[in-house]
Symmetry: C2
Subunit: 313 residues, 2 copies
C-alpha cells in the first residue's frame, strides 16, 4: 500500500517507517527535521520503496502537491512537537507543529479522498487526574499542557473529518515512549547528565513522579496490528504497559546500566518536574488487551533496554 508517514524521520516515526517497509508498504516520508533527524532514516535512503520529502506539514501548497503526486492510500500522522517541557515556554509551537499539522493533513485527505488514517495521540489529553484510572471513556478531559490541548484539539478534528468524509481512523493515546533514537525526556536527560558528571545527578521534582513507559518497538507493533481498523469511523485505544516507573527508579536503572555507584541525587523538590507536567497517572489498557495486543516490555524493562541502547552509541 502507498502510505504517507508525516513526521517519519522522528523518534517514533522512523521506527514506524522501518516496520511499514518490512511489511511491504511503499513509504513516503514527510519531515521538516525540526525534531526528526536525517540520521534516524539514514539506513533507509537507498531503499527502493522509501521516498523522502523535506517539507513542513503545515505548508498547504507543498502538502497538496505531495498528496497529488503520491497516490496516498493511508496516512500515518506523527508530526508534532513532542517536547512538552520546551513548548511550555512557547505555546505557538504546539499551535503550529501539533494542531496545524493535523488540520493540514486532514484537509489534504479530504481533498484527495484518502480514507485511512493513523493518529498518534497522548495520555496528556486527560490532564492531571491524580490516581484516577484513565480509560477511553473518562469524561472531562482537561489538558494542563499546550501539547495535550493541541492533541485533544486534533482528536476533535479527526472526529469531524472522519464523519464528514468517511475517513476510518485509528487513534492511539501513547504514554511516555522510549527506546533507541530518543531525543528528550527524563531517561535521555539522566544519561546525558551522568555522561558529564558521574558523581551527582540533579533531579526535577521529588523523584516520586511515576508514569508508564512503553518501548518504541512495542508501540509500533500496536500501530501495525490495528492499522486497518475493524470498525468504521474513529477507533480509539489507550496503548500502554502494565506498571509504571518512578523517576528515582529511572535514575537507579541508568546508574546501574552505566556502571556508576554512589551517585548523589539532588532533588529540586515539589510534586511535578515543571509546570504542565502530569506527575503521575494510572493508565487503563484493558480495551487494547481485550483486542488482542499486549506490550512485550514492562515499564521498568523498557527503561532498562532504552538505557542499554542509548549509552555507548
Amino acid at each position: 500500500m502507498n502510505v504517507l508517514v508525516v513526521g517519519g524521520a522522528g523518534f517514533i516515526g522512523s521506527h514506524l517507517c522501518d516496520a511499514l517497509l518490512e511489511a511491504g508498504d511503499r513509504v513516503v516520508c514527510v519531515d521538516n527535521f525540526s525534531l526528526g533527524t536525517r540520521k534516524n532514516i539514514e539506513h533507509l535512503k537507498n531503499h527502493t520503496a522509501f521516498k523522502l520529502y523535506e517539507a513542513d506539514a503545515t505548508d498547504k501548497k507543498k502538502m497538496s502537491e505531495i498528496f497529488r503526486e503520491e497516490n496516498v492510500e493511508q496516512v500515518f500522522h506523527l508530526a508534532a512537537n513532542s517536547d512538552i517541557q520546551a513548548s511550555a515556554e512557547d505555546p505557538e509551537v504546539e499551535y503550529r507543529n501539533t494542531y496545524t499539522t493535523t488540520f493540514r493533513v486532514l484537509a489534504c485527505m479530504r481533498e484527495y479522498h484518502v480514507r485511512k488514517l493513523f493518529f498518534a495521540s497522548t495520555s496528556a489529553v486527560y490532564g492531571n487526574k491524580g490516581d484516577e484510572l484513565l480509560d477511553e471513556n473518562t469524561p472531562n478531559l482537561n489538558p494542563v499542557s499546550y501539547y495535550g490541548a493541541a492533541k485533544l484539539g486534533s482528536e476533535a478534528l479527526i472526529s469531524a473529518f472522519s464523519y464528514m468524509n468517511d475517513i476510518d481512523a485509528l487513534v492511539l493515546r501513547f504514554p511516555n515512549v522510549i527506546g533507541p533514537r530518543l531525543t528528550h525526556g527524563v531517561v535521555f536527560d539522566f544519561i546525558h547528565k551522568l555522561e558529564h558528571d558521574n558523581r551527582n545527578l540533579n533531579i526535577l521534582g521529588n523523584g516520586k513522579q511515576r508514569k508508564p513507559y512503553i518501548y518504541v518497538t512495542d508501540l509500533v507493533d500496536a500501530i501495525m496490528k490495528f492499522r486497518a481498523p475493524r470498525e468504521s469511523g474513529v477507533t480509539l485505544y489507550n496503548v500502554g504497559v502494565e506498571g509504571a516507573t518512578s523517576v528515582t527508579v529511572i535514575a537507579d536503572i541508568v546508574c546501574e546500566e552505566m556502571g556508576l555507584k554512589d551517585v548523589v541525587y539532588h532533588y529540586t523538590g515539589g510534586e511535578g518536574g515543571w509546570k504542565g507536567d502530569v506527575p503521575r497517572f494510572r493508565y487503563c489498557v484493558d480495551k487494547i488487551h481485550g483486542a488482542g495486543w499486549k506490550a512485550n516490555y514492562t515499564s521498568d524493562e523498557a527503561v532498562r533496554e532504552t538505557v542499554r541502547r542509548n549509552i555507548n552509541r
Copy 2:
C-alpha cells in the same frame, strides 16, 4: 472594568456589548465584520465607554497592539464562524475563524497577564448522541461538524492556558441562539423564504429535527450573571432552556406570526438538514439551574419572539 469583546459586532456579541455598557463597563470591541455588521453596533458608536477596532482576531500583531493599548481586564471571546452549514463546504473557515481566534486571544492574555475570560462554546462539541441527555460530564465528545471540532479544540486550549497562566474562565455551551440581529439558521431562513414566496416552504430534512432554542437576551443574562466565576480555573455550564422546538413547529410559528395560511410544506426528507447537522439533542441544564439561573423564554416562546422581532423590520 475594561473589557474586550472579541466578535463584539456579531449577533450575540453586540447584545453582550449592550449589557456590559449598561452594567458600567468600558467596552473595547474587536470585529472583522465577516459575520458581524456595523448596523449591529450603530447605536453604540457615540457611547463614550465604547471603542471599536476593525481587526481580525487572528492577526497577531494587531491583537497584541490592542492588548498593549487598552489595559484589558477581562476578555469575552465570541469571535467564530457560527454558520455550521456554510463551513461544511470549507473547513478552513473553522480553523481560522473559530480555532485560531481562540489561540490568538489566549496567547495575548498570556503575554499581557489578563486573568479573566468568558468563552462562547456550543452544544456541537458533544456530537450526535441521539436521545442521550447531555450534561457537562458526558464522556466521548465526538463532534460531527468542523465547527464543533474547532470549539472543542478551543475548550482544550482554554484548559491548558488556564492552568499554565492562572486564568479563570467561564465557558458556556450554547444551544441554538435566536433573537434580534440573527444572521442565519432555520428561523431566519423560513422568514426570508416566506417573504419571497408566501404559499410554499421548502424544509430541509423531515421536519422532525428538534432542538432547544434560547433567546439571545436570556443568554446574555447568563453570561453577565456568571462572568466572575466563583471557582478558580475553568467553570463550565451547559446553558439552555427547558423543552425544544421541532422544525415543523418553527414553520408553523413563522407562518402564524406572518399571518400566512395554507402554506404548503415541501420536505427534502431524511433525518438531518445537512451533513454535520445534529438533528436533535436533549440538553441537561440542571447545573446552571442549580447555580441560580433560568431562562425567561421557553424554546417555543423564543422562536415566536424572534419571528416577531425579525419580520417587518
